[in-house]
C-alpha cells in the first residue's frame, strides 16, 4: 500500500510539473498551430536563471518568477521577430522552434557548463512528511499545489475574462473571430508569452525534482508531447488530465517494469493515437 501511495504522490508531483510545460504547448498549438519544440528549453533556461539568482542570495520564489519573466521576454522576442509570420505554417514554425532549441541548448551549455546542478527547495519545505512507514518530501505537495493553482488561474482566465473569450473564439474559428473585430494577434502574443512564462517559472520550481542539466529538455520533450497527445491537442483540461496520467504511468512504470519503463509510457500513447487520434479531450484533428 505504502508503495502505491509513494509512487502515486511522486507521479502526481512529476505530472504537475509536466503540466507547466504542456499547458503552454497545447495552448500555443491550439491557437496558432505552432508546435513549439523549444517549450522544454524554456523550462531549462528558467531553471538555470533561477538557480543563478538563488546562488546570488535571491529568494527562491522571487528567483523562479524572475526566471519565468526573463524566459517570457526571450520567447516574446523570438515570437515577434520570427515566429509571428509563420503561425499558419506548421512546418516552418516547427523547423524554426527546432533551430531555437539547438541555439538555446548550446547557449545554456556555454553559459552554465555541462555539470548537473541539483537544486534545493526553500528551507521551510526541505523536510519530509512521514505517516507511519510512508515518507515523502513535503516539496512534492508544494509543487502539486502550485501547479493546480496555475491551472486554476488559466482556466478562470479562459472561461471568465474577456481575453479568454477572445482566445477561445480565435481557437474555434480564427477568421470569423477576426471578422468580428477580435484582436487575434494580441491573443497570439498573450498566449505565447504565457506559455513561455509558465514553462520558465516551472524550471526552478521543478528543479528540486528534476534538477537541471544539459539534455534535460530533450528528455522532457517526448513526455510533454505524450501529455498533449493523451489530453488532446489544444485542450487545457486535456493537458491537466494528460499530465497527471503520464506522471502516474511514468512513476509506476519505472517502479514496476524498470527495463521497459519507456515502453509503458509510449505504448499507451501510441494506442490512444491509433484509436482516438484526437486524444481523450481534444476535438477531431
Amino acid at each position: 500500500m505504502q508503495f502505491y501511495i509513494q509512487n502515486a504522490l511522486g507521479g502526481l508531483a512529476y505530472g504537475s510539473l509536466l503540466f507547466l510545460i504542456a499547458s503552454g504547448l497545447t495552448l500555443i498549438f491550439g491557437l496558432m498551430r505552432i508546435i513549439n519544440l523549444a517549450q522544454t528549453s524554456f523550462y531549462l533556461l528558467g531553471a538555470y536563471i533561477g538557480l543563478t539568482l538563488v546562488t546570488h542570495g535571491w529568494n527562491f520564489w522571487l528567483a523562479s518568477v524572475a526566471g519565468g519573466v526573463v524566459t517570457m521576454a526571450l520567447g516574446l522576442a523570438v515570437y515577434s521577430a520570427f515566429l509571428h509570420r509563420y503561425h499558419a505554417d506548421p512546418l516552418t514554425s516547427l523547423l524554426l522552434t527546432l533551430g531555437l532549441t539547438l541555439i538555446l541548448d548550446d547557449g545554456i551549455l556555454a553559459l552554465w557548463g555541462g555539470d548537473p546542478h541539483s537544486i534545493a527547495p526553500p528551507a521551510i519545505f526541505a523536510g519530509s512528511l512521514s505517516f507511519g512507514t510512508l515518507v515523502f518530501p513535503v516539496y512534492w505537495l508544494v509543487v502539486i499545489g502550485i501547479s493546480f493553482t496555475i491551472a486554476a488561474i488559466l482556466f478562470l482566465t479562459l472561461q471568465r475574462t474577456m481575453l479568454g473569450v477572445m482566445i477561445r473564439a480565435a481557437v474555434d474559428d480564427e477568421e470569423m473571430a477576426r471578422g468580428l473585430g477580435v484582436d487575434v494577434n494580441r491573443a497570439f502574443y498573450v498566449v505565447f508569452a504565457a506559455g513561455a512564462l509558465i514553462a520558465g517559472l516551472g524550471g526552478l520550481l521543478g528543479g528540486p525534482i528534476t534538477s537541471a542539466y544539459p539534455g534535460l529538455d530533450g528528455e522532457l520533450t517526448p513526455l510533454a508531447f505524450a501529455v498533449v497527445i493523451v489530453g488532446g491537442m489544444g485542450s487545457l483540461g486535456g493537458a491537466l488530465a494528460g499530465s497527471l496520467i503520464i506522471g502516474l504511468v511514468n512513476a509506476f512504470g519505472k517502479a514496476l517494469f524498470p527495463e521497459l519503463s519507456y515502453f509503458t509510457i509510449f505504448v499507451p500513447v501510441a494506442l490512444i493515437m491509433a484509436f482516438r487520434p484526437q486524444g481523450l479531450f481534444g476535438r477531431k484533428l
Binding site: 498549438f29 498551430r33 508546435i35 520570427f82 506548421p90 512546418l91 516552418t92 516547427l94 523547423l95 524554426l96 527546432l98 533551430g99 531555437l100 539547438l102 541555439i103 541548448d105 548550446d106 547557449g107 551549455l109 556555454a110 530533450g218 520533450t221 517526448p222 508531447f225 505524450a226 498533449v228 497527445i229 491537442m233 524498470p258 527495463e259 521497459l260 519503463s261 519507456y262 515502453f263 509510457i265 509510449f266 505504448v267 500513447v269 501510441a270 493515437m273 491509433a274 487520434p277 484533428l285
Partner: protein, 326 residues
Amino acid sequence: MSARRRWVMTIVAGAAVALLLPHLGVPTFFVSLLTQTWIIAIAAMSLDLLIGFVGLVNFSQAALFGVGAYAVAIGATRFHITGFASGMVCGIIAAVVTAALFGLVALRAEGPGFIIITIALNQIVWGLAYQWVSVSGGDNGITGIVRPPLGSIDLSSNTAYYYVCLAAFALTLAVLMTVVRSPYGLVLKGVRDTPRRMRALGYNVWFYRYSALLLSSVFAGTAGVLFAWYNQFVGPVDLSLDQSTQFLIVTILGGLGTIYGQLFGALVVIFLSNELSSITQRWMLVLGVIYFAIVLYAPGGLVVLVPRLWDRLRGKRIAIVPAERP
C-alpha cells in the same frame, strides 16, 4: 551553356571527384568523413521523399535507421548472419517491418498530429534500445560488428568501404530520382498538396502515404546497416530523437523536395560539425544559427541558395524559380 548541360557537367565532375578522391592523397580521416556523408545523405534522402514529396514530417526516421543498424548488429553477433547481402537484407526487412507498424498508427493522423505521434513512436524504439539490456546491450550498445566482405572484396579498409557507401548513395539517388519523376511520384506530390482533391479523384491517399513510408524505410534501413558496419558499433544514440533531428536538419539545409540536395546538406553538417568542433566548442550554436537562417531566408535550401549567390558573385542576375515548398 544551357541549364541541362550545366547539370550534366556538374554531375560528371562531381562523380569524378568522388571516385578519385581516395587516391588523391587526402588524409584517411577525410575519406572516413566522406563515407559518413554518403551514409547520412542516404538517410536524409529517404526522409526527403517523405517530407518533400508526401508532406509527412517523420520524426521517427532515426528509429527506422537505427532498427536497421541494430538488426544487422544483433544478427551478426548472435545469429551468425555475417554475409554482406544477408546482413543488408536482414537490416532492411527490420526497418520495413518497423515502418509498416509505425504507419498503421501514425497515418491515422495528418500534419501536426503525424509529427507528434512519430516523436512518440521514435521514443518507444529508443526506450527499447536503451532499457532492454538483454537484447540491445542498453546504453553500452553492441560492439564487435565485423564488416563483411562483399563477394571477394575485403571491406575492412576505409577506402574499400568508401566505395561501397558511394555506390549505395548513387543507387539510392538514382532510384529515388526515378521514383519522384514517375507517375507515382506525381501522385505523391498531389497527395502532399491537396489530399482532399486527390481523394475526390479516386486516389487512395492512405495507400500512397503508406507505400511511400515503406519505400523510405528501405533506404533508411540501408543507411542504418551501412552505418553499423562503418562504426562497427551501434548504440541507443543512433536511434534517438537527436538523430532524427540531425536527419531533419540535413534534409532542410540541403533543400526539401529535391532528393539530390540532401548530399549538400550532409556535406555541410558532417564537415561543419567536425571542422568547427576543432575550432570552437560552440559549433552546435553556429550550426543552429545557420540552420535557422536557412529556414527563414532560403527555404529552398543550399541547392537554391548557392547557385543564386554564385550568379550574383559573377554579376549575373538570373531569375531563380523558387523551390517548391510543401
